[in-house]
């Protein structure tokens, strides 16, 4: 049993590993690897202990708060929180991390900067675990930003590739755009409640007193403070979790090494947004009972989640890069989770988060295995025929696919997705999430079938695929473990045995009857079947022969396909709007700097002269020209005057004497008394 006051040990272990790794000399390649593995294993054990403790009393929010520093007379307090949600997530993060770490050892064996890689990974895990056990929105923000930093470093791990460097920057900047909302929400919350602690013996922001106050604070237009704060915090989640319209960074983030994609951009970090919304769910839901609120915070979450779920699935259909397909799939699945939170089923969201972490990590690692074997070829058009060459990877990939598309009854993804769809069906506000969810199911089945057929079936269509052979044990072992988890993780939350639901909410949840929701299950199963069948009919029946052949979808609907392949021009849209706006503002600033600030102040000087020297005025601003001119004039006058300084001492003296005499004469005869 780990008390809350000791929770800091969980993130501290990897942090220490990262610190030592950063300080270690570059030649010590193995040290950071061992340290990272040891630390993450320790954290895993501690997390399990913490989880056991948390499950013993699921409703009790065990906290350990402390003062970070004092500003003025007010303490800024942070804290650790032990509850089933955080502990369960920690276990999941640690477990996936252990597997990804092991996989990475083999995947990056040849890289000279292996040690640095593990240092960054340790930093990431430390920050992520800190985020999960934080009992303070401020501490959560701290870890949130550090997670972003680690993501930045790892996306740009191969920084001498310009595309990787650009992708890293894009990821950081776009998530930071969302973080501005997060920061403002935090500030607002701080101002309204005077605290950032979630639970603080009745004074925390997620406890009844603060929530009532927030919901009672009404702003113009019927908004409440709770709605405003909730929406602002959600903006942070939108950035981090790749939700529409800030989803554009996530596919680009695939420039990082594949284990990074598996761990950070599929299983854990991108889920942090969902975690955040789940964590502050009481706050998000505080305005639910108020009819005057124009848009409830959760409604916005549900709408954004629905759009993202659908958009991600649609875009995944036309991608040819293996990792990009999986990246858009991640966007789509994160949309499902948000959708679930939005319709009030945050438990279902967390359930899906955990199962998704297992099977998406599996899929990414599987693709990593393929890429590794095929000498870094990741275009599925130039792969093919790997089913026979990499049998183990193929089987585990199929299992992961089954979980993702939600093949019924056995696979984990089925149960978590059913839970979400069930909640969406019952949502009273709108049917949009439900419809979007069902459409997404078809599309998911379709694009995953397409991916499997293109990659593994048919004959090899490229150099890499021809010479591919099965990856080493160190890489297949994590695949096996994750494959088992992808299947089994769903059993903890089936309607028949809602263990997870009861533990997370801290209240017993009755098992549902088989008949309840059976219709929905059947319907979605049919939809999955339709998707798979369509995929098989287009891609599996006659596998692709030539890498350059047109996609069957492109033959049928060339315009639609082109639009999708261009990712619906989202990047171009941003470049043309936000990017241009920013560039314009910066150009305006430069112009103002050159002409106006200088000019306004320069008016007091010598405006007329600045126009004369156009060329110079372009380089210098008008003000400085004025100063230079004035000083030149002064200097010339001084030169004139200095001619009087002949250097003839006797001359000076003569002048003095004459002057003196004149003065005396004036005094004597002038009658001056």
């Amino acid at each position: 049993m780990l008390p809350a006051s000791q929770l800091w040990l969980i993130p501290a272990l990897p942090l220490v590993a990262a610190a030592i790794g950063a300080a270690a000399p570059r030649t010590a390649r193995r040290l950071p690897v061992f340290l990272a593995l040891a630390a993450i294993t320790g954290s895993l054990l501690l997390s399990v202990v913490a989880l056991v403790g948390a499950l013993a009393a699921p409703a009790a929010k065990l906290t350990a708060n402390f003062t970070w520093f004092v500003a003025g007379s007010t303490a800024v307090r942070l804290g650790w929180l032990l509850d089933p949600l955080g502990a369960l997530m920690s276990v999941m993060v640690c477990a996936v991390s252990v597997l990804v770490f092991i996989f990475s050892i083999a995947y990056l064996r040849a890289d000279p900067r292996l040690g640095r890689f593990f240092t960054c990974l340790s930093l990431f895990v430390a920050a992520m675990l800190g985020l999960l056990v934080a009992n303070s929105l401020l501490l959560l923000l701290l870890c949130w930003e550090l997670v972003g930093l680690a993501s930045y470093l790892l996306i740009g791990f191969w920084f001498d590739r310009p595309s990787a460097a650009a992708a890293a920057k894009k990821a950081f900047v776009i998530t930071r755009l969302g973080d501005l909302g997060f920061l403002l929400g935090l500030l607002w919350l701080f101002q309204a409640t005077g605290s950032s602690l979630f639970y603080d013996g009745g004074a925390g922001v997620l406890e009844a007193g603060a929530l009532e106050r927030l919901a009672a604070t009404v702003l113009p237009g019927g908004w409440t403070a709770a709605t405003g704060i909730g929406l602002l915090l959600f903006a942070g989640a939108v950035g981090k979790s790749g939700q529409f319209p800030l989803h554009v960074w996530l596919p680009d983030a695939m420039e990082g090494p594949t284990p990074v994609s598996a761990l950070i951009h599929a299983a854990t970090m991108v889920a942090a947004g969902v975690f955040l919304v789940a964590r502050v769910f009481p706050l998000m839901a505080a305005d639910q009972g108020l009819a005057a609120v124009p848009v409830h915070a959760l409604t916005a979450v549900a709408v954004v989640g629905s759009i993202t779920a659908l958009l991600g699935a649609v875009l995944a259909v036309a991608q040819t890069d293996m990792k990009r397909v999986l990246a858009y799939s991640t966007v789509s699945q994160l949309g499902y989770m948000m959708l679930a939170v939005g319709v009030g089923a945050w438990v279902a969201a967390v359930f899906h988060l955990i199962t998704h972490a297992c099977f998406k990590a599996l899929l990414f690692l599987g693709s990593g295995s393929v890429i590794h074997a095929a000498h870094h070829e990741q275009d599925s058009r130039r792969l093919g025929g790997l089913a026979g060459r990499m049998r183990f990877t193929y089987v585990t990939f199929l299992l992961g696919t089954g979980a993702l598309v939600g093949l019924p009854l056995v696979f984990s993804g089925f149960w978590s997705k059913e839970a979400i769809l069930h909640a969406a069906e019952l949502w009273p506000v709108s049917h949009l999430p439900f419809v979007a969810g069902l459409t997404g199911v078809v599309l998911t089945a379709f694009y995953m079938t397409r991916l499997v057929c293109e990659t593994f079936l048919g004959r090899p269509r490229g150099e890499g695929a021809e010479h591919a052979h099965e990856s080493p044990r160190v890489m297949t072992l994590p695949l096996a473990v994750l494959a088992v988890a992808s299947v089994a993780a769903g059993w903890i939350g089936t309607p028949a045995w809602p263990w997870l639901q009861s533990r997370l909410t801290g209240a017993p949840v009755a098992a549902q009857a088989w008949s309840d929701g059976l219709g929905l299950m059947l319907f979605s199963t049919v939809l999955v079947g339709v998707g798979i069948a369509a995929g098989w009919w287009m891609y599996g029946r006659r596998p692709r022969v030539d890498a350059r052949a047109l996609d069957p979808l492109a033959q049928r609907w060339p315009r639609v396909f082109a639009a999708l392949a261009a990712r619906l021009w989202f990047d171009e849209l941003y470049a043309a709007t936000l990017g241009r706006l920013l560039r314009g503002a910066a150009a305006l600033a430069a112009w103002l700097e050159r002409w106006v600030w200088g000019g306004v102040v320069g008016l007091t000087g010598r405006v007329a002269e600045t126009t004369g020297e156009v060329n110079r005025a372009i380089d210098e601003d008008g003000l400085n020209t004025g100063f230079d001119r004035a000083s030149d004039g002064l200097r010339r006058t001084a030169q004139q005057y200095s001619r009087a300084q002949t250097g003839d001492v006797q001359g000076y003296l003569r002048a003095v004497v004459v002057g003196l005499a004149v003065l005396a004469l004036l005094l004597i005869w002038g009658g001056v008394r």
Binding site: L187, Q191, G194, L582, A586, A587, F627
Partner: protein
């Protein structure tokens, strides 16, 4: 050693060092360098000794020395320190030796450079400890002279024009300051900051000034505002800054942005606010807009510039403007939410310190890049530095992210507290200012991507050495402080909390 000797020694030892260097004609360069560094590092020693005397329970001056100086004019030799002054003294103590080492490392005419620099450092310290306008203004003006010669004698190709511009701008500002205090002196017969603040608190200052003429108060306020605003700089009085920071030698730029710009910020808190609180409140709206303009405009201009030094100069404008933003928001709000006011004030002072550290580190980075590439810091000349010099890249990266406000590093705490306070007092202003956070991230990361990432190119393509031992010590100690103060901000916050609390309680300086 008693306390008043500490104060005098704090200022005198660097000056003494400058004097020794100035007359020590036959001193070999090594000895001169060692002497300069010792004299410069004395500030840190004095700072720590003073820190040991700091009393957290006391909001006012914990060390004070006041003896009559020029009796006929009522001028006192009045030195004193409170937590705020100590904060800036410590900043000078940290940055002074590092900037000096950087300046002297590759300088010709070591003796002269060291002497000028020590004179500069002593003057800056004098500004932070003097409490009578007369000695204060002497130090304030005296700091210009060494800065001018350092920029001119050891600076870049256009250093002549830049130093000239720097001095003329600052002198123009100082003239306003001098006139304003002349008016105050004529009205009240004293130029002592504490006495003036006391008069103001008692409500008598307005009457005295009013006797001079209807506009006297407004003009005096304006004079002080412009004088301090040019130094800080307050947007739009910043036009001297980019060229100056770009042309000054790297070490001097470190000191200029790290310490000298803080003289302006310090002046806002020590002079303007306590003596003219009502004028400040009356004009808080436009001033707030100006500070906000500095925040946003600085960030945008930095985004636009393709030269590292210019970018850092505008970035400095952006960061220093946060401090002023907090002050103006507080001044404009009047007695409002006490917690927010405290947060804003504490944040402004912390930000001043932290910006000093990170900006100095970034100017040091710029200096290294220039030195390695032959004296030019345009982005286009670099690429892949991280590949060529990984240790340099690591430390430079920490400094960069500190400037960007990453939590866990020092830059975050001040900015967070400022936003915390300003949001409560002026939510719209805070919301607009957050945009600058985004722009800051964009331009810093663009710089990083262009210069450090990608394949090795330009000046980096050939020989490009990693940090040597001396450079590592300078940058490493700065980075160490960034991490330390990021994790444990209480170390600094403890110094200024009593002040922030008492200010918030009275909204005037004691």
């Amino acid at each position: 050693m008693n306390a008043s000797m500490l104060l005098t020694g704090l200022v005198a030892v660097p000056w003494l060092g400058a004097l020794l260097l100035g007359i020590g004609g036959s001193l070999p360069a090594r000895a001169a360098r060692a002497l300069a560094v010792l004299a410069s590092a004395s500030t840190l020693v004095f700072g720590v000794l003073l820190l040991a005397r700091f009393d957290p329970a006391l909001p006012g001056l914990f060390v004070e020395q006041r003896v009559p100086w020029i009796r006929s004019l009522g001028i006192d030799y009045h030195l004193g320190l409170d937590g705020m002054g100590l904060l800036f003294v410590l900043l000078t103590g940290v940055l002074g030796p590092l900037a000096l080492v950087t300046t002297l490392r590759r300088a010709t005419r070591v003796r002269a450079a060291g002497a000028w620099f020590l004179l500069l450092q002593g003057s800056a310290l004098g500004v932070f400890v003097a409490l009578d306008f007369f000695p204060w203004f002497i130090c304030w003006e005296l700091s210009l002279v060494p800065a001018f010669f350092l920029i001119r004698g050891w600076g870049g190709a256009n250093a002549g024009a830049a130093s000239y511009r720097f001095v003329v701008f600052t002198l123009a500002g100082s003239a306003g300051l001098l006139l304003a205090f002349a008016a105050l002196y004529a009205a009240t017969g004293t130029m002592n900051f504490t006495d003036l603040a006391r008069l103001r608190a008692a409500g008598e200052l307005a009457g005295h000034l009013g006797a001079l003429g209807a506009w006297a108060t407004a003009l005096a306020f304006l004079g002080v505002l412009v004088g301090l605003g040019v130094k800080a700089p307050l947007f739009p009085f910043h036009s001297w800054m980019p060229a100056t920071y770009a042309e000054a030698p790297a070490g001097v730029s470190m000191f200029l942005t790290g310490v000298m710009s803080k003289m302006g910020v310090y002046g806002f808190f020590r002079l303007l606010w306590p003596i003219f609180p009502e004028e400040l409140r009356a004009h808080a709206g436009p001033l707030l807009v100006m500070a906000l303009g500095g925040v946003v405009f600085g960030a945008l201009a930095a985004l636009r510039s393709g030269n590292l030094r210019h970018m850092l100069a505008y970035s400095s404008l952006n960061h220093v403007s946060y401090c002023l933003l907090a002050l103006f928001a507080v001044a404009g709000a009047g007695p409002a939410d006490g917690v927010a006011v405290e947060a804003a004030l504490a944040g402004a002072l912390l930000q001043a310190f932290n910006h000093g550290l990170s900006a100095a580190a970034l100017f040091f980075v710029a200096g290294i890049l220039e030195q390695r590439s032959g004296g030019n810091s345009d982005f286009a000349r670099f690429g892949g530095v991280r590949n060529a010099a990984p240790r340099f890249a690591l430390l430079a990266g920490v400094a960069l992210f500190s400037s960007l406000g990453l939590p866990g590093l020092n830059g975050f705490v001040g900015e967070f507290l400022i936003f915390r306070g300003v949001f409560a007092l002026q939510p719209v202003v805070a919301a607009v200012a957050t945009v600058a956070l985004l722009v800051t991230a964009i331009f810093l990361l663009s710089f990083w991507q262009r210069v450090f990432h990608g394949p090795r190119a330009g000046a980096v393509a050939g020989e490009f050495a990693d940090l040597d031992a001396a450079e590592w010590r300078v940058l490493g100690s700065l980075v160490f402080l960034m991490i330390l103060l990021g994790v444990a901000p209480q170390l600094l916050a403890g110094l200024i909390n009593p002040l922030a609390t008492s200010w918030a309680a009275s909204l005037t300086l004691p």
